[in-house]
C-alpha cells in the first residue's frame, strides 16, 4: 500500500467531523475494549501470562535467524515450499509468478494485513487474476474500494445501512437488508468463489519453528475454506511472527484471542504443517510459505524499537487508544493504525514522512496497559520523537528545523530559572490583556476550544517568599478557595 502518513492532520480532522463514523467508532469502547478487560480479568494470572509471552517473544527475536532456519527446514521436510522475501515487492512477484505458472484464475483470500503492505490484490489483478477477499469485513471494504479501518475489524467504520447500500449497489440486493441478511448474502456470494478458486492465500498468526506449523486464528470459517477448497495454499507472513515451540502456542492463543475480541477462544484455530499428506482424502497439493522482511530487519536492529516486533496484531491498543477512537484507522495513512501503527508505519514507510504519527499521542499509556505482550509503546513514541528532533540514529530523517530546536533551547533555559520564568509569565499575562487572544496562532489551538487560565499576580514561590509562612489552621485570607 502506498503510504500517505503525511496526511494525518487532514484526515483526522475530516474524520472528527464525520458524525456517522464518530458514532460507529464510539462502539469500540464497549464493543472491544471492555470485552478484552472482562476476558483478561476472568483469566487467572493474566499478568504472568503477559510476562511469559513477552519474554518468549524477546528471546525469539534475539535468535530470529536460528528459528527461521529451523522453521524452513521443518516446513520443507513436510513437503512445503519456503520462500524468504526481502521486500513486499519480491513477495508479490513470487506469488503472482506462482499463480500464473499454475494457471490460477481466481484467488480466495483470508485476512492478511501483510498482503495490504504488498498491495497484493493490485498485483494479481494486473496479471488478470481475480483476488477475492473472504473475511466479511475485508469483503465489505474490497467492494467499497477502501482499505481496512482496523486490524481485526476492517469495516467497523461502516454502519449496517451503509453496508446494505453498498451491497445493493455492487451486488444488486435489496437496499434495506439487516445484518443477518447481509451476512447471508456474503455467505452465498463467497461460497461460489471458494468452490471455484484455484488458490487460497492466507496470512498467519503464528509460525511455529519446532514443528514447522502455521497457525491461523479465525471465526468465520473463511480461513478453513481457503485452506481446504483450492489446490494451492499460499501463506504470507511477517518474519517476526515465529514462535519457538508448538508447546508455546496455547499461551499465545490465549493472549491473542482474549485481547482481540474478548473471547476465550476463536471459533476456529487452524494449524497447517505442510501440504496434504499423500494419504489424506483432500486438501491443497501445494503449500507455499512466504516469509517477508520488508523493513522489519531495520526495526529489529534498533534495541529500543525491537519490541514493536513482539506485536500479535490483536488490535487491543487501537481499542484502548482515546486518539484512535476519535480519528479512526484511515487517518494513519497506512496498513497499521493506532498506537502500534504510530511506531511501525513510519519505520516501515519513512520516518520523516510519518513524522506526525509519533506526536499524535498524549502518551496516556492505555496502549501499554492493554498490550498482551506488554509492548512499551509510549517509550518508543518518545524515542521516535527524540530521533525526529535531535537524534542521531536516523539523522537523515530528522524533521525538526533549526527554528524549533532554537525555541526549545530558549524555553529550556528560561524554564531553568524560577525568576526568569515568573517574569516571562507575567509579561505574557500583560500582553494577553492588551492584545486580543486571536493574534497568537500558537494559542489559537487552545483558545478555539478552551478558555485560557487566568495569570495570577504572583507565582507561588514569590508569594511564599513574601509571606514566609502560611496561615494558621483555622482558615485565613491567604487564597482560600471557594466552593
Amino acid at each position: 500500500m502506498r503510504a500517505s502518513t503525511q496526511y494525518f492532520k487532514q484526515k483526522s480532522t475530516e474524520t472528527l467531523h464525520d458524525l456517522k463514523i464518530q458514532e460507529n467508532l464510539a462502539g469500540l469502547y464497549p464493543g472491544f475494549h471492555e470485552a478484552r478487560i472482562k476476558a483478561s480479568s476472568d483469566t487467572e494470572d493474566w499478568d504472568q501470562l503477559k510476562e511469559r509471552g513477552r519474554r518468549i517473544k524477546a528471546h525469539t527475536l534475539d535468535h530470529l535467524d536460528y528459528y527461521l532456519e529451523l522453521l524452513e527446514k521443518n516446513v520443507t521436510n513436510a513437503g512445503g515450499v519456503v520462500v524468504f522475501a526481502d521486500t513486499a515487492k519480491d513477495a508479490s512477484e513470487y506469488v503472482t509468478k506462482l499463480a500464473k505458472s499454475r494457471g490460477v484464475k481466481s484467488v480466495v483470500k483470508s485476512k492478511s494485513m501483510l498482503s495490504e503492505e504488498m498491495s497484493l490484490n493490485h498485483h494479481l489483478e494486473i496479471q488478470g487474476i481475480e483476488p477475492i477477499e473472504t473475511d466479511l469485513g475485508e469483503y465489505i471494504v474490497q467492494l467499497a474500494g477502501e482499505t481496512p479501518y482496523h486490524i481485526i475489524a476492517p469495516a467497523i467504520h461502516k454502519s449496517s445501512e451503509e453496508v446494505a447500500a453498498l451491497f445493493s449497489e455492487k451486488i444488486g440486493t435489496e437496499p434495506t437488508l439487516g445484518i443477518e441478511d447481509l451476512t447471508e448474502v456474503a455467505r452465498k456470494q463467497l461460497r461460489e468463489k471458494f468452490i471455484s478458486a484455484d488458490m487460497g492465500i492466507t496470512g498467519g498468526n503464528f509460525m511455529v519453528a519446532d514443528t514447522g506449523t502455521l497457525a491461523l486464528v479465525t471465526n468465520e470459517g473463511n480461513g478453513r475454506m481457503c485452506t481446504s477448497m483450492p489446490r494451492i495454499h499460499v501463506a504470507i507472513v511477517g518474519m517476526e511472527k515465529v514462535i519457538p515451540s508448538i508447546t508455546d502456542l496455547g499461551l499465545f492463543l490465549r493472549l491473542l484471542i482474549r485481547s482481540a475480541t474478548g473471547q476465550w477462544i476463536s471459533s476456529y484455530v487452524t494449524t497447517v504443517s505442510g501440504p496434504k499428506r499423500s494419504k489424506d482424502i483432500d486438501g491443497p497439493e501445494e503449500f507455499h510459505l512466504v516469509i517477508v522482511d520488508n523493513g522489519r530487519s531495520r526495526i529489529l536492529a534498533d534495541p529500543v524499537l525491537r519490541e514493536s516486533l513482539y506485536c500479535l496484531r490483536c488490535g487491543a491498543c487501537l481499542n484502548a487508544c482515546p486518539v484512535y477512537r476519535k480519528v479512526g484507522g484511515h487517518s494513519y495513512g497506512w496498513v497499521y493504525p493506532g498506537p502500534i501503527g504510530a511506531v511501525i508505519s513510519p519505520m516501515l514507510t519513512g520516518l520523516s514522512r510519518g513524522k506526525d504519527l509519533p506526536f499524535a499521542s498524549t502518551l496516556c499509556g492505555s496502549c501499554k496497559e492493554a498490550c498482551p505482550v506488554k509492548i512499551d509503546i509510549p517509550k518508543m513514541l518518545l524515542y521516535l520523537r527524540n530521533q525526529l528532533s535531535e537524534g542521531t540514529h536516523y539523522r537523515s530523517e530528522r524533521t525538526s528545523g533549526l527554528l524549533e530546536r532554537a525555541i526549545s533551547m530558549f524555553c529550556g533555559r528560561l524554564l531553568g530559572s524560577q525568576n526568569a520564568t515568573a517574569k516571562a509569565v507575567k509579561f505574557l499575562g500583560k500582553v494577553l490583556k492588551i492584545f486580543p487572544k486571536r493574534i497568537f496562532p500558537f494559542l489559537q489551538g487552545w483558545t478555539r476550544f478552551r478558555d485560557l487560565p487566568e495569570i495570577p499576580e504572583q507565582s507561588f514561590i514569590e508569594r511564599w517568599r513574601d509571606s514566609r509562612h502560611i496561615d494558621n489552621v483555622d482558615g485565613g485570607d491567604d487564597g482560600n478557595s471557594e466552593k
Binding site: S12, L16, Y29, P322, V323, K326, F359, A360, S361, T362, L363, C364, G365, S366, K368, L382, L384, R385, N386, L388, S389, E390, R405, S408, C411, G412, L415, G416, S417, Q418, T421, V425, F442, L443, Q444, G445, W446, R448, F449, R450, D451, L452, P453, I455, P456, Q458, S459, F460, I461, W464, R465, I470, V473, D474, G475, G479, N480, S481, E482, K483
Partner: protein
C-alpha cells in the same frame, strides 16, 4: 498524633503549572501538610523538571533541567511532595533514561526519586499512620460536597496510583464521591498535543466533559493541575456551572471547615 512529627520536614516541589498559574494549589498542599503536623519547606531555586522538553524529544534540553532539579534537591534528605503525577513520573521513571550514560547523576537521581512523592501518595502514608486529623461528623453546618474524580494518565498508569486519591476523598464524610463514566480515559491535554492537534484534543475533552457533567457533581477534581487547566478551560468555554479544583484544594477546604478531634 505526636509520632507524626517523625515524618520530619517535607519540601514542596510546586511544578511549573502550579507555581506560575495555580499557586493556590501549592498553598493548599502546605496547609494540609501542616495540619497533619508535617513541617513544610520550599526550595526557592526550584524550576521545571524538564518533562515538556522530554516529551517533545528535546532530551538535551530536558537533561539540563533535570540536572538543575538534582542540584536543587541533592543536598538534603527531605522528602519531596509534588502536586502532580506527571512530574513525579518524569523524576521516577524517565530521569534514569536521561542519565543513562552518567553513573553519578544516575545514582543521585535514583536517590532523590526514592524520596519524591505525589501528593496523595504521601497523604496515604500519613493516613496509614493516623496522621490525618479526624474531621468531625456532619453537624448543623454540614455541607455535602458532591465531587467527581478524573484519573490523570501518568498518575494512574505510569505510577500505578489509582486508589490513594479515592481513598483520601472517601475518608472525609463531607465529600460525596461520585464516579464518572470512563474516569480513566485521557482528558486530551498531553502537553503540546493540545495545541499541535487541537481538534483531536478538544474532541477528547468533550467526551471527558460529558462524563463529568453526567455525574451532576458540583466539583471535579484530579491530582494534576495540567489536566484540570484543560478541563476547566473547556468547562468555562461551555459555560458549565461546575467548579474545578485540585485535590489538594478539596482536602484543604474540607479540613479548614473542620473542628479538630
Amino acid at each position: 498524633m505526636s509520632n507524626c512529627k517523625e515524618f520530619g520536614r517535607v519540601s514542596i516541589f510546586a511544578t511549573c503549572v502550579v507555581n506560575h498559574l495555580f499557586p493556590n494549589v501549592a498553598f493548599s498542599v502546605a496547609r494540609v501538610l501542616e495540619r497533619c503536623s508535617v513541617a513544610v519547606d520550599v526550595e526557592e531555586t526550584q524550576a521545571c523538571c524538564g518533562q515538556p522538553f522530554f516529551n517533545m524529544g528535546y532530551w538535551k534540553d530536558a537533561g539540563r533541567l533535570a540536572k538543575k532539579f538534582l542540584a536543587s534537591y541533592g543536598d538534603t534528605t527531605e522528602k519531596i511532595v509534588v502536586p502532580s503525577g506527571s512530574c513525579v513520573s518524569m523524576i521516577r521513571n524517565h530521569y534514569p533514561q536521561l542519565f543513562a550514560e552518567e553513573t553519578d547523576l544516575l545514582s543521585q537521581s535514583k536517590e532523590i526519586a526514592s524520596r519524591t512523592f505525589e501528593f496523595t501518595e504521601y497523604l496515604e502514608l500519613l493516613f496509614e499512620n493516623n496522621c490525618i486529623p479526624k474531621i468531625d461528623s456532619p453537624g448543623e453546618d454540614f455541607h455535602q460536597y458532591r465531587v467527581t474524580y478524573h484519573e490523570a494518565c501518568h498518575l494512574s498508569r505510569e505510577l500505578g496510583i489509582k486508589s490513594s486519591p479515592r481513598k483520601i476523598l472517601k475518608s472525609f464524610p463531607r465529600i460525596d464521591l461520585v464516579e464518572m463514566d470512563k474516569a480513566e480515559v485521557c482528558c486530551g491535554f498531553g502537553g503540546t498535543f493540545s495545541v499541535k492537534y487541537p481538534e483531536i484534543s478538544s474532541a477528547m475533552l468533550d467526551d471527558k466533559i460529558e462524563s463529568i457533567l453526567e455525574t451532576k457533581a458540583s466539583t471535579v477534581t484530579a491530582c494534576d493541575a495540567s489536566c484540570l487547566m484543560n478541563i476547566e478551560g473547556g468547562l468555562k468555554k461551555k459555560g458549565a456551572q461546575i467548579t474545578t479544583l485540585h485535590i489538594a484544594e478539596v482536602v484543604d477546604a474540607v479540613m479548614s471547615g473542620a473542628v479538630q478531634v
